[in-house]
Amino acid sequence: MTELRGSATAAAATPAAAVAPPAPRTGLRRRPGRRKFIELVVLLGPALVLFAGFVLLPICIAAYYGLFNWSGYGPVSDFTGLHNYRLVIDDPVFRESLLHNVIIGVLSLVIQLPISIAIALLLNRRMRGGSFLRTAVFAPYVVSQATTAVLWLLLLEPGGFVDQLMKAVGLGGLVQQWLADPTIVLYTMFVVLTWQFIGFGVILLLAGLQGIPPELREAAGIDGASAWQTTRRIILPLLSPTIRIWIFLSMIGSLQVFDLVWIMTLGGPANASSTMVTYMIFYGFHSLEFGYGSAAAVILFIISFAFAFLYQRFALRRDTAGALTRAVR
């Protein structure tokens, strides 16, 4: 109360103060401010501590280890500066691994996305068995990657189920050494990745489709738009924020592919299916070159972060600024 009284006294002291807007009631403002601060500390504090401890700190530690030649044993003392980073960037195997990540990302865009949209559009219709089909499409995504890898290892064995099936339907001539041929193993891996992750895309896009008011489709129908025109001109533009989110998640996932590849091929044969993460694991844990592996990890982080940052800045920003409402207008 004393603070309130003090403010009122100050306001009456000068004529200018009489025409000026009422003086801020500092005492009343400060209290909610403090409360807000406490709320922030209580609600954000633990998350921030965890984020700093389990995300920021490890990144800093990895960047630090990357500056040393360190086997994982003994003191971290052999400082080599940016030598490890240079070696990683100059290593043809690392570049090849990065290229594999990019190929997986591009194939995801070109193949997985259209398939996901098509299935989502199909499943968005009212049809008998729709729930079952949705569950069936989503089921592989629920299965752990390790299980998926073992399952497909068995299916793709020489003379295994896939080979027998192809022979049974007259495609025996197309049978390949799916995981042993360096020229096709990456594409085999992509098929398995698609099998596992397409359900996620479909569910995400279905959720997006169900957020589009049915009246729009009905109105377009009344105006004489064909089904294709409705999809092309109305549904897809309204679905684009969801598509952009899918692209973001898919690209980050493509940069981080590991489990399936590691179990199915260990990145081989001859690095033909290696990715940046298998490269990092190989040098870090398998080869016990923790300094070198850490440098690879930091480079992987920078690439992922740069992509995420630029994509947020140029692609996702419009969604947060209300792209949906603009599109409807």
């Binding site: 044993y73 995981l179 042993a180 193993v185 091929t265 260990l266 016990l288 070159e289 070198y292």
Partner: protein
């Protein structure tokens, strides 16, 4: 057990720490001398499947029976997970008291942690009795581990499949082996199975060609200098390239695992789908675990890697290694070292050889427990050899060894050259 990955789905077993013997005994290891207090030794091993798992548990129980104050917590860890786990443990403050060891450069890399106990200052007369085998497990004059078995790499073959292909006796020279490959091809059976997915089985071939092409002195120098920049190593790569041109391996060998599943190289030989495999002496036990019908064991034979005509190296030199244990520097002594000595006793060694099929015993007095004719054959080969070269991927420091494996795997996939193997080794050595 060096590379016995026979435990296909036993990761679950690895999760369980089995407390052995005197579960209720109090106290735990805290380092230094033990005095009269009760202690518990934590023992990490990659033996997570029977028969070796059971034998180790039984040996721990026996030791406890004669040393009631010492009990064990045995922690079985799946082989592929072991290297990572022990690396983390040795970086931490609480490493296991006893842990599985492979020796060579693998152990030398671990010694850098300062967490391995040097057994030499302790009562180590028993180590001396193991002779040159244990001497190979020294780093800078310190004895940081001791092997409980010794391994030899050679060809395991199916006598019945050889007979079906019209081969009357195993080959002794490379040209003979190549002729046999042609005969086996004609008999519609994969001549040789190899687990290239794991890379290290590929390296056995390069290793053996190097052993045939290099003098013993060069082999020793190369390992000591951590280099392969010698003409004989290049020649080994050329020999391997020429051998690969005979298409000796099964279809899709580049993604075949060595020891996991019926489709592995060991499984293919056990099933009669391949005629032979270049592997360590642990191979029959791996095959046994993979094959539903154990009848094949009577058809299994062994022959050493053939001589390479004109190669200057000694054709009786063998490729091998061993499995053993180390004590951590914080382990209670002399209990830990005493238990390792117990594992080298004739009775323990006989149990390991006869029941766990670990290969050849580290203690020669247990050789009488070898029963399979092939094992006796390996024993004799070992007695006649002037030198056993440790697998290069373990003899070199870990990062150099993995670089070697990867470079040979590239050659197998037609992406490498003899020079690229030498270069990979030297580049990795430079990163040391």
């Amino acid at each position: 057990m060096r590379r016995t990955r026979k435990c296909v789905a036993v990761a679950a077993a690895a999760a369980a720490a089995l407390t052995l013997a005197a579960c209720g005994s109090s106290g735990s290891s805290s380092g230094g001398n033990t005095g009269n207090s009760k202690i518990t030794l934590t023992w990490w091993s990659n033996a997570n499947a029977n028969p070796l798992l059971g034998v180790f548990q039984s040996l721990a129980k026996s030791y406890h029976a004669s040393h009631p104050k010492v009990s064990f917590t045995y922690v079985p860890i799946q082989n592929e997970q072991y290297d990572t786990k022990i690396q983390v443990a040795l970086q931490g403050n609480n490493p296991p008291d006893i842990f599985f060891q492979r020796g060579g450069g693998f152990m030398a890399t671990q010694v850098k942690s300062g967490k391995l106990a040097n057994l030499k200052p302790l009562d180590s007369k028993w180590i001396g009795e193991l002779g040159s085998l244990a001497a190979a497990w020294q780093v800078n004059g310190g004895q940081y581990g001791v092997p409980y078995d010794q391994h030899t790499v050679g060809f395991w073959y199916r006598k019945d499949v050889f007979a079906r292909a019209g081969i009357t006796s195993p080959p002794t020279t490379m040209p003979q082996l190549e002729t046999d490959i042609t005969k086996l091809d004609a008999a519609k059976v994969a001549p040789i199975a190899v687990g290239s997915k794991d890379q290290w089985p590929d390296a056995f071939y390069w290793d053996y060609f190097a052993v045939r092409e290099c003098s013993i002195a060069t082999l020793k120098t190369a390992v000591k200098a951590v280099s392969a920049n010698y003409p004989c190593f290049l020649k080994a790569g050329s020999d391997l390239t020429a051998f690969m041109a005979t298409n000796p391996f099964q279809p899709a060998f580049l993604n075949t695992p060595a020891q996991v599943g019926a489709g592995s190289s060991a499984g293919l030989v056990a099933d009669g789908k391949a005629a032979m495999e270049l592997q360590g002496d642990w191979d029959p036990s791996v095959m046994e675990a993979l094959a539903p019908n154990k009848k094949f064991l009577s058809d299994i034979g062994w022959f050493p890697f053939p001589a390479v005509p004109g190669a200057p190296g000694n054709s009786q030199v063998l490729l091998g290694g061993g499995d053993g244990n180390s004590c951590s520097a914080s382990a209670p002594e002399p209990a830990c070292a005493d238990f390792l000595a117990y594992l080298e006793s004739a009775s323990a060694q006989k149990l390991l050889v006869s029941t766990a099929n670990v290969g050849l015993p580290a203690n020669p007095s247990a050789s009488s427990a070898l029963t399979l004719p092939a094992e006796q054959q390996i024993l004799q080969a070992g007695q006649h050899t002037p030198y056993i070269q440790e697998y290069f991927d373990l003899a070199y420091p870990t990062n150099v060894g993995t670089a070697l494996d990867a470079a040979v795997a590239d050659l197998f996939a037609n992406k490498g050259t003899p020079q690229s193997i030498v270069t990979a080794i030297d580049q990795a050595a430079a990163r040391q």
